[in-house]
């Protein structure tokens, strides 16, 4: 049952990504985990596209890749800016929201 097992795989990727986001302290590490999550979603889209013969699903997988690129670019820019102004790359050092 490839659909079922590949779904399992994408779930696992997604949850690993979540785990990474929750645990990683390095900002770039966070980005990497987000990429995992996006890949899980893309995998799902492609899987369903194949299973149901749906064109738009593939298109959306394409969009995800494009958005991932945007996200990575902006994210990395922020990290570099952060490393200059705040002299840190650790997400938990940036706690301006602290009450």
């Amino acid at each position: 049952m490839p659909v079922q097992s590949l779904l399992l795989l994408s779930h696992a990727l997604f949850c690993l990504g979540i785990y990474g986001i929750l645990t990683r302290r390095h900002a770039i590490g966070l980005l990497l985990s987000i990429e995992l999550i996006l890949n899980a979603a893309a995998l799902n889209f492609v899987l369903f596209s194949r299973a149901f013969g749906h064109v738009q699903a593939q298109a959306f997988a394409l969009f995800i890749i494009a958005l991932a690129a945007c996200e990575a670019v902006v994210g990395l820019a922020i990290i570099i800016r952060l490393s200059r102004t705040a002299k840190t790359v650790f997400a938990d050092h940036v706690d301006l929201l602290k009450g």
């Binding site: 929750l22 645990t23 938990d92 301006l96 602290k98 009450g99």
Partner: protein
């Protein structure tokens, strides 16, 4: 009881609106262009008031024929008839209209002299015009709500005018006191209106007879007592009388117009207007309060030394007398006395104002012998004093004796009490007259020698009022067959002069006069030595106004302020800190101190965090600012929610 019988015809007359509109227009003009008008601004007010007087007079014929003039429009609801308000003139309101516009015109004229040179001259006349507009609105209203509007507006004008010289802290305080005290009474009126609306669904004065027919007596008593509470506040009846003596901080023409002739009489007017709602029980209350005020204020007036204050207490006393008349169910008599009182009391105040204007003093101790320098003022003051004492055949005689007659008819004992009150009245007013105008001029403080007669612009209006003080009573006298009572719809009137009453009241007045001379001027002790300590104690009690102000301060005002402060503290600490309880435990004492003020919200969140994290975690945990921890909560929430919502 014998309320105005249903008028024969009701005419619709839109011009009615001009009566309050003219002074209102003057107010607007003066407010915006007052500075530019400068010295001419008084004339705007005078012209407006004279115009209102003219319209009032032009209505006289119609009203004396027993017709009613009215105009109405929708106000709070486009279709519900109960919310359409209007103006109307019947005999009762015509009398008030006449009093307000005629005395208002006179006093406006007088003020031109009195306020001459004041930097806020135009503002004064603006307020005066606004007052007249509101008062006329109150009088013309044919609907409880509109009356309430006018009622509050006159209160406002009274406030503005009492604290007109607001640089004086006493004036500012007195204005506030007047406004708040009368507003306490007004809540009674408001509650009465609410109750009336919900029980009878009718607020028009013209329908009150029908309302009386279909409400239970208990309800009527409650409503009428509430309405009387409003009247008592405005007419300064016990226990809401405290504001009126303080109100003398205002300019004297204001005291004459508002705090003697018109506004304070509004309470009497209100009760007369709503008399159909009063049951015997509530009339008994009106009678008791009126009598108490009459006697209480009379004794206080005997002991005061500030001439304006004496006049203020005298006003209280006379208003009490009017309330007594109302309590006897005799609204026309009360209104009659209201009319004559307006003339002689306004004149007394203007006379006092003239004295203050000339001598710059208002303590009896600093005045004396002014008759030589101010003959006109002295003569007019004398006329007014005689009129108030009820000596035959001046105005005061007719109105007071009518009340005495009614009292004798209903409760014979009341006659003697009222005669005692009349003696007091004579005593205190002649004490003022004798010590101001007779005797020798005082030198210390250089009070009187350079005094001079007031200018014509002040004397002339006083003379006009003097004519009223002499002759206004004739309108209700048997000599002219009581045209006034016919105007008010009263048909059962006493014909001819009642000689015993005439005799008794003359005796009372003579007694009072003697008292004024012996005790007030010569300052001799009349009491036997054994009773003197008691006498001086009583004197001190009265001179300190029975300590009512002090009692109020101790038992009402301070607890009120304490309550306010207490609630504010409660708000800050308890409410703001209520949710804290749980979180507070987890905090160190130092943090507790630092966060004491801002505790609520943070600790609320804290409590939440504690439940999530367990006992060991601190509050800050949830607000670390670390996004990942927020995210963790989100993920957990998603897991739990989706597990719960899974189908």
């Amino acid at each position: 009881m014998d309320h105005a019988a249903a008028p024969a015809v009701t005419l619709t007359l839109p011009q009615l609106g001009w009566i309050p509109a003219l002074p209102l227009l003057a107010f607007t003009l003066l407010l915006f262009f007052g500075r530019r008008l400068g010295r001419f601004s008084p004339w705007v007010a005078v012209a407006a008031l004279a115009g209102a007087l003219g319209i009032t007079l032009s209505l006289a014929g119609t009203v004396f024929h027993g017709h009613r003039v009215a105009v109405s429009w929708a106000w709070l609801s486009a279709d519900a008839p109960v919310w359409s308000i209007g103006l109307s003139v019947d005999g009762l309101s015509w009398l008030m209209l006449f009093v307000v516009t005629s005395i208002g015109t006179m006093i406006a004229l007088y003020s031109m002299g009195y306020m001459h040179g004041d930097p806020r001259l135009s503002r004064f006349f603006a307020y005066l015009s606004l007052f007249c507009a509101s008062m006329l609105l109150l009088v013309l209203a044919d609907h409880f709500l509109l009356l309430y509007v006018g009622w509050e507006l006159v209160g406002l004008c009274s406030y503005l005018l009492i604290s007109f010289w607001f640089e004086k802290p006493e004036a500012a305080a007195a204005g506030r006191k007047a406004f708040i005290t009368t507003r306490i009474g007004d809540t009674g009126l408001l509650l009465g209106i609410l109750l009336l609306f919900w029980t009878a669904h009718e607020l028009h004065f013209s329908q009150l007879d029908a309302v009386r027919a279909h409400l239970s007596p208990g309800l009527l008593t409650l409503i009428s007592v509430l309405i009387f509470l409003g009247a008592a506040g405005k007419s300064a009846q016990i226990p809401l009388h405290v504001w009126l003596p303080d109100a003398m901080e205002g300019p004297t023409p204001v005291s004459a117009l508002i705090h003697a002739a018109t506004m304070v009489a509004a309470g009497v007017y209100l009760v007369a207007r709503t008399l159909p709602l009063f049951t015997p029980e509530s009339l008994q209350i009106v009678l008791t309060i009126g009598l108490l005020t009459h006697l209480f204020a009379g004794t206080v007036a005997l002991t005061q030394t500030d001439i304006k204050r004496i006049l203020a207490y005298s006003t209280l006393s006379q208003l009490g007398l009017m309330m007594v008349a109302l309590g006897l169910g005799a609204a026309p008599l009360a209104m009659f006395h209201l009319g004559t009182h307006a003339f002689f009391k306004a004149l007394l105040f203007l006379g006092a104002g003239s004295v203050i204007h000339a001598a710059h003093a208002q303590e009896l101790g600093q005045l004396g012998g002014l008759r030589k320098t101010m003959p006109w003022t002295a003569a007019l003051f004398f006329i007014a004093a005689v009129s108030m004492s009820g000596l035959f055949p001046l105005s005061g005689f007719w109105s007071k004796d009518a009340i005495l007659l009614a009292a004798r008819h209903d409760h014979p004992w009341l006659l003697w009490v009222l005669l005692g009150g009349a003696a007091m009245t004579t005593a205190y007013i002649f004490r003022v007259y004798l010590r101001c105008f007779e005797g020798t001029a005082k030198d210390h403080h250089g009070a009187t020698p350079h005094a001079h007669e007031s200018p014509m612009i002040m004397v002339l209006p006083m003379a006009m009022l003097g004519l009223g003080a002499i002759g206004a009573g004739l309108a209700g006298s048997p000599w002219l067959h009581h045209p006034l009572f016919r105007l008010l719809g009263e048909t059962h009137v006493h014909e001819g002069v009642d000689v015993p009453i005439l005799a008794w009241s003359t005796v009372a007045a003579a007694l009072g006069l003697g008292l004024a001379w012996v005790v007030g001027v010569q300052q001799r002790y009349l009491l036997p030595p054994a009773l003197r300590p008691l006498g001086s104690q009583l004197y001190r009690l009265a001179a300190n106004k029975y300590y009512v102000d002090e009692l109020y301060d101790r038992f009402l005002i301070r607890p009120f302020l304490d309550l306010a402060r207490g609630l504010a503290g409660f708000d800050q600490r308890v409410i703001d800190g209520a949710v804290n309880g749980a979180g507070r435990v987890g905090w160190g004492l130092g943090e507790l101190k630092a966060w004491f003020d801002q505790a609520v919200v943070d600790q609320l969140v804290n409590g939440l965090a504690r439940t999530v994290r367990g006992a060991g975690a601190t509050l800050r945990w949830i607000q670390t600012g670390i996004v990942q921890q927020y995210l963790f909560v989100v993920v957990m929430a998603v897991v739990v929610l989706s597990a719960l919502l899974r189908r």
